[in-house]
Subunit: 760 residues, 2 copies
């Protein structure tokens, strides 16, 4: 009998499953990956290549190519992300201007390009040239007057509606995943979640095109967040070309982390900031190798964008600035005030936006996404046109607000009353009294601020690509500029006040309102996203000097503290929560006193854990168990009595293995014994061929004892990227904890609805 | 009988150990900490404070203070590290000049300060003023001539010997840990190793003082590495003031990571580079909270240093540079060549230096550290004085090599033949033919380069504080400047060559030799330390522009690749290895196919694992076991037969607990049964009081199965910072793997001597 068993065991038939079968090691949609498993699969692969490489020169070259493929992918991502960013910038520029008029000699020129090519313009009138025709001039040959204004107004709204309608339709028809900023989903994907198609080619194409459309339509949204999504789509595309990345979900995520860095790099022209953003905000598993590669991708992207030079200033962003005056200690007070404002705005925005999005999700509102976009676009366009600060594109607005008033500045914000005796050098203009233009600008800015605050809440989350970096920065920049002008005028008119006496003598250039705008922008962005280091570094790369880091940091820290006092979640975490993604945040600290035994399934009183035994169940038993439950996998024990754990088998692989065996392996019938041991069990004579499934058994399942504190369990799940973990007591299997159980428990402890965690 | 047991169990006596006893939770010197345990202790502490804070306003304030203490520590570290760096810079400046002469009106002025205060100097002769007297002028009233030269030469050597002798004596007598750069040890400490006194107050004091002495003595070493050590000592000092950090080795290491960032921040004037250095190079556990705090500490330190303004240029470093010309694609070739040079230099340096240090460790050479320092100092001073490029301090040399030749530059390196018709603006001087000064300089630089290369190998590792950032950068900068001048002259004389034709027309300023020096410095530093991102960012912060990142990166990557081809270890890892510290590098990838069962103790054939049973051993049994073995802890099993694991008890805590119980608890004698269960075991009547030790039992020991691949085990040890891990098979305890076992196994797999790992 023993011999019969042995014979069965030694046949080729039995080891049939030792050769891999298709689809093994892949995951289902909306499921979580197991990082440890992916990592060990990659090591296996690496080992194979290394041992093969000694066999022949060709294999050696192949192994070199494999080692270099990471850098090649980074290079390609950088090139494509930079190119796409440049194209988007150029297209947005052109289409934004198209709402107001057209370049007669060459319709594909934007307003600025049109007048560059013209020789008839002087430096002061850069914006006015005969080649550029407003629609009213072209259609009714009138450039001034009420009817021309109304015609331009009407056409502005029509273009906006047209762009927005096209965008929302494209998204709905071709790529529903192209909507939103994409950062919450990318965070979830990087943490090990599968959303098929989210980073697909269609999403890439449609998101790029619709991004141009929605930004040009004048809606209160930015292209920065979606650019990260676009860059990640590039990353996903290129990683699918190399089997090293396409077949390993863990390695693929390393590429995506780097792609996110490249995205921010081109969005803000800040390669280092991009890497830190990826590290601080979106990435989950960020080994040092990825740090270096991210940096490479970010730099390549930045240089590609620079060589495209979309803004014609060989800068990577529209709002690059240089200031000429230092800041003074006393100014920290208004900077901190701006930080408080930023924190309050962040809280207000997150609360209102989440409330509105929840309403959209749960009521009939969500059924009319096209109508919603049309209505919001119409309202935005109608209100925005009359006010010069909302009519132009938001990044131009930010650029103007950040700017220091030089001698040649023609902006209304720089309409100061000049001292006729002034003979100072150009870039050191003393503080001057504000002229009527500044007062008008203040009113218009205040109105624009209120409008932006309200409309952004309703815009973010619509079914179109929409980022909120730019609107947040605009809100902060407007508030900051107003505060800055206020402080400047106060200092000018009250030189003798004790706070100004030391640093702001008459004739000195002591207050730079542009700096206040920048500080305000950082504060508001920080309040909404809760970024800290990466935010300051991005701003530092915009100004290019350490000089202003202290104000920026003071505002960013204040804003984060104020916002955190009202709720720890940033906008991205809030959206992840709203969508119920299984995201285990690295930043959340779990400080409750529960133990693994409180969280594991089965709970007290529940049916016992569904387990497989190592050598006593038939194929039919296993199939029944699979049919009756929906668990992702089953622990394998010595016997139901001893409950001593020997391994863990994945549901998906069990199904595939049994299906394969039934089709291709003789003698495997419903009555065959399934065994997970090395040697087949002793069977009575004439029993059918047993089925060996040791190959799919994970012999090193992760276990903790029932007394392990949950904080340790959470830490283990986070750091090792586990999908599940078995709970034992003195060697006996007691239960199982999955990532979803951990998330539910954390939600419960935080007094939230544990049912909000929806996926596995 | 059961009742008796119950009564025993319910008495207060039994729970005596529930109150903590002294020294619990501390570690012995030269032992490894358990990160998970430290973390859970901190969470306990945090929970206690949070629950207490609701009791009274005073407790609430205390909890707030506790929450803020992290920021306060950072602020203090930044302030002290910045101040110390400033003081060191000023003192080094003064003492370096003291070797050549003295400022007559005020001896505490350095040469430059002395001539600043003088009104009699013109801009061209900044260095010459009557107030500053060379020793020969002062002593024999001769400033020129052979005898004056010899006198100056002699005094230069004497001063150098005097400084070096003082330094090495101070180190030997007061703080032996103050020698070396400190970075290898700090890396080890941050990875969870205890070296008492390494970051102590004496070390701080002596290292600061001796650092000034050795740098002034003209030895080929820098202050940058030791500054990191000094900053970490500051961090350790301030963290000892707050119980949150002083009582938790894990939290303390978060502070030290931030302190390391502050150290690099002041060493190079690069706060972001400092944070990245800490992240990439020295830190082990770097949560996001630490990122933000490191950044804060680094900024505070940088601003403190700037307000001290030691270089009088309101820059943080002597070698801040600004270039005026861009680089061209064709220049990438020499840049990559410099990268290759850097990689070769790194390999050569590491091999030779380690060989020399090993010889010092193993032969009689190591017994005469004072003599060694004296000899090396004498040789250095004798050879260095005649060559102007080695006589001055190394950072001044680097500063001169980095500099672009402006119109006002008086350096020999800028002795070009000027075109008399030149009417160009000051900062756009075209390429010119080299004058005789440049040729002389080239020879001197070549000699200086060879000298630096040789002497640095023997200098690094002596029993004095010594960093090698500066010597490495100097080697690279000299090589780079020579290559740069070569390319420049080549381009000038061969405008028509195809590679120059496109970008280097006659009269254009196309090659900046200073940039080559900077690229060379980055390459050499990269070759020695294998830093990548942080290196590029530090260099980027020195130039302050994205413009030159591509050359720097090309050189850094090439250098790393070339150096890695000859051996993966950087100089710090090599020194860690040499000293046998138990350091588990995050960067090493473990790709071998071994399993936990191959590594665990006991091996096959060895005596079985020493275990405690849960309720059948007497106090005497336990004491005997402790006496006979030197393990750090013992697994506790249900019984020796079943081998079912219930927990793990630390040796140190067992000893303390038994000692305490014997002293303070009645009835505990050698025959008392020790039990680790909740309830005492059933005992025969009249048996002595049992001793309950459940409190010191770790109920959640980490286990893996014997089939777990070692790559997973290594990963778990790294990511969770374990000290040991138990190995089970189907619920039975098989063995134990300690961090030392893992390191030994890794050494064995890499064909190194496993006995080189020395500490626990």
């Amino acid at each position: 009998m023993v011999n019969a068993g042995d014979m069965n065991g030694s046949g080729n038939l039995m080891d049939f499953l030792d050769e891999p079968f298709p689809d093994v090691g892949t995951y289902e949609d909306f499921h979580t990956i197991d990082w440890l498993r992916e990592k060990s699969r990659d090591t296996d692969r690496h080992r194979k290549i290394t041992s093969k490489s000694k066999e022949s020169i060709w294999e050696f070259i192949k192994s070199l190519l494999d080692a270099w493929s990471g850098w090649v992918v980074m290079l390609l991502i950088g090139l494509l992300a930079g190119t796409l960013a440049g194209v988007i910038d150029l297209a947005v520029d052109w289409m934004t201007d198209l709402k107001e008029g057209v370049c007669l000699p060459a319709f594909w020129y934007s307003h600025e390009q049109c007048c560059w090519t013209s020789n008839e313009t002087t430096f002061e009138d850069r914006d006015k040239c005969p080649q550029w025709q407003k629609w009213s001039e072209l259609l009714v040959s009138q450039s001034e007057g009420a009817s021309a204004y109304i015609l331009n107004y009407f056409l502005y709204i029509m273009w906006a509606l047209c762009f927005a309608f096209l965008a929302v339709s494209l998204v709905r028809v071709f790529a529903p995943y192209a909507c939103g900023s994409g950062i919450p989903e990318i965070k979830t994907i990087l943490s090990g979640f599968i959303i098929r198609g989210y980073l697909g080619k269609w999403t890439l194409l449609i998101k790029t095109v619709t991004l141009v459309l929605v930004v040009s339509s004048g809606l209160s949204l930015g292209k920065e967040g979606p650019l990260v999504h676009v860059a990640c789509c590039c990353g996903n595309f290129f990683s699918s070309l190399f089997s090293k990345y396409s077949k390993n979900e863990g390695k693929r995520r390393e590429v995506l982390s780097a792609a996110a860095a490249a995205g921010v790099s081109v969005a803000f022209g800040a390669p280092i900031g991009g890497v830190l953003f990826s590290l601080e905000e979106v990435s989950y598993y960020f080994p040092l190798k990825t740090l270096w590669r991210s940096f490479f991708a970010a730099l390549v992207a930045a240089f590609t964008l620079r060589s495209i030079n979309p803004f014609g200033n060989s800068r990577l962003v529209l709002f690059y600035v240089e200031y000429h005056t230092p800041w003074y200690m006393a100014e920290l007070f208004p900077f901190i005030l701006l930080g408080v404002f930023g924190g309050l705005w962040g809280t207000l925005f997150i609360r209102c936006n989440i409330a509105w999005c929840r309403r959209r999700k749960t009521t009939r509102l969500g059924k009319y996404p096209v109508l919603e976009v049309i209505v919001i676009t119409a309202i935005t366009a109608i209100i925005a046109y009359p006010n010069p600060y909302t009519r132009r594109s938001t990044s131009e607005l930010i650029s103007e607000l950040f700017n220091d008033c030089g001698a040649l500045e023609s902006s209304q914000l720089c309409d100061y009353i000049n001292d006729p005796n002034m003979t100072r050098p150009v870039d050191d203009i003393p503080d001057r009294p504000a002229g009527p233009g500044v007062y008008t600008a203040m009113w218009q800015l205040a109105l624009a601020l209120v409008f932006k605050i309200v409309v952004t809440i309703f815009t973010f989350g619509m079914k179109i690509p929409s980022g909120l970096f730019i609107p947040s920065m605009a809100v902060g920049a407007m508030a900051g500029r107003m505060v800055g002008i206020g402080v400047e005028q106060l200092a000018y008119h009250h030189h003798d006040w004790i706070i100004f006496r030391n640093w702001c003598r008459p004739g000195a250039d002591c207050v730079t309102p542009g700096l206040y705008a920048m500080v305000g922008a950082a504060a508001c962005l920080g309040g909404v996203t809760r970024m800290t280091v990466s935010l300051v570094v991005i701003m530092f790369e915009l100004t290019g000097g350490l000089e202003y880091i202290v104000p920026l940091m003071a505002a960013a820290v204040t804003s984060k503290w104020v916002a955190d006092a009202f709720g720890k979640e940033g906008i991205y975490e809030a959206h992840i929560h709203l969508n119920g993604y299984p995201f285990l945040d690295v930043k959340d600290e779990f400080t409750h006193r529960t133990l693994a035994t409180d969280v594991m399934r089965p709970r007290r009183g529940e049916a016992p854990l569904s387990v497989l035994t190592q050598d006593s169940m038939t194929v039919e038993d296993v199939e029944t168990l699979i049919k009756e439950t929906d668990y992702n996998g089953f622990p394998v024990v010595v016997s139901k009595d001893s409950e001593r754990l020997i391994g863990f088998a994945q549901r998906r692989e069990l199904i595939l293995a049994i299906k394969n065996a039934r089709q291709r392996q003789d003698g495997v019938v419903s009555n065959s014994i399934v065994y997970f041991t090395e040697d087949p069990p002793e069977l009575p004579p004439n029993s059918p061929h047993p089925l060996k499934l040791r190959r799919i058994l994970n012999l090193s399942p992760f276990t903790v004892t029932d007394h392990t504190p949950m904080e340790t369990v959470v830490d283990i799940f986070r750091k090792l990227g586990l999908r599940q973990c078995l709970v034992t007591r003195s060697g006996r299997l007691l239960g199982i904890i999955t990532k979803k159980d951990v998330l539910r428990h954390m939600a419960q402890m935080a007094n939230q609805d544990p049912e909000s965690i929806m996926f596995n």
